[in-house]
């Protein structure tokens, strides 16, 4: 680029708005984080640093409830992410390595359906469905709904990754008498790993965080962390909720960061 009198790319104020944007995104989260360490039982006054509310989460009067909810959340998220990532990996292989076929567009539409239908509509529809076939609501209904909902979130990074891998590697393997199955498991799958891990982690967070669908399809008395938090918040924000929120928040950030660096590590060829 030639040197110019002024930079045509830069606009005054845009840098400041970007800083403002980051402040808007991060300040509320930081405030919750800070107040979770408040020694006071009130969320209004600051009385100094303390780990009291973290202790309360683990041994306090409501700890049993939160432990069950957390276990439900994690079990559902692990299974839902595993199943939806497997389904998405197969689907991506067919979509990217399957040549042209008639139902390609229909399949793509079907895979992105959970992204297009508003979440509350999916939630209502799933509730109606389970109810009409007499399927008793509980952990299993949450799990099934989460598997379907997580598929597009797992699919997108996996498909993006596969598009970046030329199929010459598999061709070469098959020229050397590898079967298709071997070309898939020994060549394509290892090359795909960063995309698959990234997809798994995103599906995992989506499942772990989901409130709306879970709220509709869960059975009475069955809670996940978000529904338990929602129930507690309805009675007023208490410091122990802030401690749980901070832990969940930190967990999500760690997972997304791992996902980011894993998918980036594979980019360097």
């Amino acid at each position: 680029m030639a040197a110019r009198k002024f930079d045509v790319k830069a606009y005054p104020g845009f840098a400041q708005i970007t800083v403002l944007c980051l402040l808007i995104l991060y300040v509320p989260l930081m405030v919750v984080m800070i107040y979770s360490f408040n020694a006071s039982a009130s969320i209004v006054v600051w009385e100094g640093f303390s780990l009291r509310w973290y202790k309360d989460v683990f041994v306090g009067p409501e700890s049993a409830k939160f432990k069950v909810a957390a276990r439900n959340s994690f079990v559902i998220a692990i299974i839902a992410a595993t199943v939806s990532t497997t389904i998405a990996t197969f689907a991506a292989t067919a979509m990217i390595r399957g040549g042209r076929f008639r139902l390609r567009l229909v399949s793509l539409g079907l895979i992105s359906l959970p992204l297009m239908v508003p979440e509350i509509v999916t939630a209502v529809a799933t509730l109606i469905f389970f109810n009409s076939i007499g399927f008793e609501r509980g952990l299993l209904t949450i799990l099934l709904a989460h598997i379907a909902f997580c598929i597009p979130f797992a699919y997108l990074p996996i498909a993006a990754r596969m598009q970046g891998i030329e199929d010459t590697y598999e061709q070469a393997a098959m020229d050397l008498y590898a079967t298709k199955r071997q070309a898939f498991t020994k060549i394509l799958l290892p090359l795909m790993m960063p995309g698959i891990i990234s997809g798994f982690l995103l599906a995992f967070i989506i499942s772990l965080d989901d409130f709306i669908i879970t709220n509709f399809v869960k059975g009475a008395g069955v809670e996940t962390l978000p529904t338990a938090i929602f129930g507690a918040v309805k009675q007023g924000i208490k410091p122990n909720i802030m401690a749980i929120s901070t832990m969940l928040l930190a967990f999500s950030i760690v997972m997304v960061t791992i996902s980011y660096f894993v998918s980036k590590s594979g980019d360097k060829k």
């Binding site: 980051l22 995104l25 197969f90 999916t122 529809a125 469905f129 199929d167 965080d209």
Partner: protein
């Protein structure tokens, strides 16, 4: 996820024979757990309600009638327009629209700024914008409630700085709902605009400046039209989820500021217990969203034709 660069590799047909089997699990799962339930919801919206939730399998137009028609106190007068639910829908569109405009005002300069940074730091900026999206929506909405409340940090800061004497009532207002929606979906506005600006050819800006166009004229007449598809995509990604949002109106708006999401929830989980009516309201929301997506697809097709 970040960047969104298109494929460089060839897309072969190595697994052509296996594709039906490879796609089968996705098809079965999504048809059974999404497509079928949504179709069933359409059927439910034409059934008769049963008290305490559920339905009676008897065709009825009552749900849609209740939605659009006011038939007087005893339900026997001719149909005049029922404004209650139309108002709720209109409020949702209005709230989602304002939240979209707000996120465009903040999101566009941010996306533009990030896209004009050196190529090696751009992914990190994008990553910083995306992180909050992956934090639980419920927690983010609760943190906004915490910020906006009467003795909250915003009011405290404003009072401390002497700008106001008494705390502002922000929680349980329309404003709080807009802020909540804006805060929930702001990253969605930045990402597609960023992708569009990154592809924009800056020699066009240079040409404009050589022809004595001012910076702002260049932005308005050259850059904005070029990145329009990204702007439209961003607006849709904020508007559509805002429309059906449940958490922001519920936790920030209070009882007065009902949106479609709350109306639907009330029919299934709340006291109303009218499933056909809830299904009908969901159908109307879904139709609205599909119309918006159809409009978007047509815009994209036109943009592709224009550039190709």
């Amino acid at each position: 996820m970040a960047g969104g660069t298109a494929s460089g590799g060839t897309q072969g047909d190595t697994y052509k024979e296996a594709r039906t089997w490879l796609l089968m699990p996705a098809w079965v799962t999504l048809v059974v757990l999404v497509l079928l339930p949504v179709s069933l919801m359409l059927v439910y919206s034409f059934l008769t309600k049963e008290f305490r939730g559920g339905v009676i399998w008897e065709f009825s137009f009552a749900a849609y009638d209740q939605f659009f028609c006011d038939r007087g106190l005893f339900g026997d007068e001719p149909c005049t327009i029922e404004w209650t639910y139309i108002t709720i829908f209109w409020r949702s569109i209005w709230q989602a629209g304002l939240a979209t405009i707000l996120s465009l005002l903040i999101g566009f300069p941010t996306a533009y700024f990030i896209a004009t940074r050196p190529a090696n730091v751009r992914p990190l900026w994008v990553f910083l914008i995306t992180i909050p999206y992956w934090v639980n929506l419920l927690i983010r909405t609760v943190s906004m409630r915490f910020m906006l409340r009467e003795e909250g940090p915003i009011n405290n800061t404003l009072m401390w700085s002497g700008l106001i004497d008494s705390p502002l009532q922000m929680i349980n207002t329309n404003f709080a709902v807009q802020i909540g929606l804006f805060y929930s979906y702001l990253p969605f506005m930045v990402l597609p605009i960023y992708a569009a600006v990154e592809r924009y050819n800056f020699s066009l800006s240079e040409a404009a400046s050589d022809l004595y166009a001012s910076k702002w004229t260049t932005l308005r007449r050259i850059i904005l039209p070029s990145v329009k598809p990204g702007v439209i995509a961003g607006c849709i990604l904020v508007f559509v989820p805002s429309l059906g949002a449940f958490l922001a109106p519920d936790l920030l708006g209070g009882a007065k500021n009902f949106m479609i999401g709350s109306l639907i929830e009330e029919q299934f989980k709340g006291n109303a217990g009218n499933w056909p009516f809830g299904a009908a309201a969901s159908m109307i929301l879904l139709t609205l969203v599909l119309l918006i997506l159809l409009f978007y697809a047509r815009q994209q097709a036109r943009a592709n034709r224009g550039s190709g």
